[in-house]
């Protein structure tokens, strides 16, 4: 913890450092044009609210939130299923395990943008009747789910592996089946341990919702691009960037909080 003097010193040094950086930027040769192109108050406001010819970046950002919320819920469930399937022992289940491994290898390996193209343009291109009425954004969500489930499944699996074998022995020795041991003893401990890395992946997911725009959905990044192209000004990008940061910060702080709580608990455990 910082004492009174510590707070004073850290405040002073922060002001000095920030002041020097600001001075350096203001004195640099292109400072005026940077200020005009990126931080013009008029453009910031207009792109924020939208104009007659370009959509509001903020309302477009609501689509990012919707994509994120929908994808997140599906990923949490699907990834858990994949991780559990991958940890089923026994030769009979080899095909299932192999499929789970192939899935994670495949979708962790392909760049998200390629998956987006393949799903978003490829599937409608098949000309199947059922898919003709599906919205672009749905394909985007499917692509995000496919890729991120592969990552999150690995996070879950690390958690499952971290639960000591003696816990399983204790559960099985009481006559609990393999599945019930998993459900009541292994998974609750595993999930608790992987919440911080899980949230970390979701911060990545929040940002990657911007990539769905390649399929034509007008989300925040695309709306900013439209404004920028029409007005030859990049303040709209700054607005979009700020919105993404604002959305990820609470999750980042929450992750920090969980990690700190975990460490306190572990230390308390050792002290006994």
């Amino acid at each position: 913890m910082l004492g009174n003097r510590g707070v004073l010193v850290s405040t002073a040094s922060t002001i000095v450092v920030l002041g020097l950086i600001a001075l350096a930027i203001a004195m640099s040769p292109g400072a005026d044009i940077v200020r005009e192109r990126f931080f013009s108050w008029e453009h910031l406001k207009q792109s924020f609210l939208g104009t007659e010819t370009s959509p509001s970046v903020v309302s477009a950002f609501l689509l990012n939130i919707r994509i994120f919320m929908t994808a997140e819920v599906i990923i949490l469930v699907l990834a858990l299923v994949i991780a559990v399937v991958r940890s089923i022992p026994g030769p009979v289940f080899f095909p299932l395990r192999a499929m789970a491994v192939a899935y994670t290898d495949l979708f962790r390996g392909i760049p998200l943008i390629l998956v987006l193209y393949m799903i978003g343009f490829g599937v409608p291109g098949l000309g199947l009747k059922y898919f003709s009425s599906v919205a672009d954004v749905t394909y985007g969500i499917v692509a995000l789910v496919l890729v991120y489930s592969a990552y999150v499944a690995e996070v879950y699996r690390a958690g499952i592996d971290s639960v000591h074998e003696s816990q399983v022995a204790a559960a099985r020795s009481l006559g609990l089946s393999r599945w019930k041991s998993m459900r009541f003893v292994v998974l609750p401990q595993a999930i608790r341990r992987v919440i911080p890395p899980l949230l970390n992946d979701f911060i990545g997911l929040q940002k990657d919702t911007a990539l769905v725009s390649v399929l034509g959905s007008i989300e925040a990044a695309r709306a900013a691009q439209i404004y920028g192209a029409e007005n030859f000004n990049y303040a709209s990008y700054v607005v979009a960037a700020a919105l993404f940061v604002l959305m990820t910060i609470p999750l980042a702080r929450f992750t920090d909080h969980l990690i700190a709580r975990d460490r306190r608990r572990r230390e308390a455990g050792f002290a006994r």
């Binding site: 003696s166 816990q167 022995a169 204790a170 559960a171 099985r172 020795s173 009481l174 006559g175 609990l176 089946s177 019930k180 009541f184 003893v185 609750p188 401990q189 608790r192 455990g269 006994r272």
Partner: protein, 252 residues
């Protein structure tokens, strides 16, 4: 070997290897119903492995184990059903850290036996009461002392109403001053006639409680007999050597 009485255990010619490590090399043990058998021997002599085999936590390589007249090492035996009748308590307690004491105890009766919540909690409460743990029912395991944790682990196994209890070095991880409270619980079980197989380093305790002591050495029962004979007049040189080392260490 003659069949054990009633709900006893018969271990016949059991072999078990882990890779190149041949841990059990033809073990024969007979445990009659209501009998307490203590397994003694150096670390690595196979005591724990034998207990884990009886609980089917480890499959045997050859030989057979009969419990209550049923050959549990036969193929197609429902291992979960067998385990419900055999309680095991481990050296490291192995309580579930994310559950309260009460939930630790009621989990298996509810999920493996299908007993409803109220009945399971009543059963748990009466066991906790009996072993002086009533005030701990809502605590998490890491808030308890080692002795309390081990007593909870014993209660957790008893809540399944097993006909046999296997105890694997249950005082091995405890501070010396906590050993007595756990041994007292085991004595009570013995008085009630619980059939038990106990792997232990507590020789004084084994002498008090056992009806039969088996000295294991390198994966076989080197000598078996009533405690008064094993501890005062061992026949086998290996047994004598082992007991001399124990006496030299001040543990008998």
């Amino acid at each position: 070997m003659t069949a054990p009485s009633g709900g006893g255990i018969l271990v016949e010619g059991v072999h078990k290897s882990f890779g190149d490590n041949h841990v059990l090399r033809g073990i024969d043990v007979k445990v009659d119903e209501h009998e307490v058998v203590c397994l003694i021997g150096a670390s690595g002599s196979g005591k724990s492995t034998l207990l884990r085999c009886i609980n089917l936590l480890e499959p045997v390589d050859s030989g057979r184990i009969v419990v209550g007249g049923e050959e549990i090492t036969a193929r197609r035996v429902d291992v979960d059903r067998v385990r419900r009748g055999i309680g095991i308590v481990f050296q490291a307690f192995n309580l579930f850290p994310h559950m309260t004491v009460l939930r630790n105890i009621t989990l298996a009766p509810r999920e493996a036996l299908g007993i409803d919540k109220k009945a399971a909690e009543e059963r748990a409460a009466s066991l906790l009461e009996r072993f002086g743990l009533s005030d701990k029912r809502d605590e998490y395991p890491d808030r308890l002392s080692g002795g309390q944790q081990q007593r909870v682990a014993i209660v957790r196994a008893l809540a399944m109403r097993p006909s046999i209890m296997l105890l694997d070095e249950v005082t091995g991880a405890l501070d010396p001053e906590l050993v007595a409270e756990v041994l007292q619980v085991i004595r009570e079980l013995a008085h009630e006639g619980m059939t038990m197989v106990i792997a232990t380093h507590e020789m004084g305790f084994a002498r008090d409680i056992a009806s039969l002591v088996c000295f294991l050495d390198r994966g076989v029962v080197a000598e078996a007999g009533p405690p008064e004979r094993i501890f005062t007049d061992p026949q086998e040189p290996r047994t004598r050597q082992f007991l001399q080392r124990i006496i030299a260490a001040g543990r008998l």
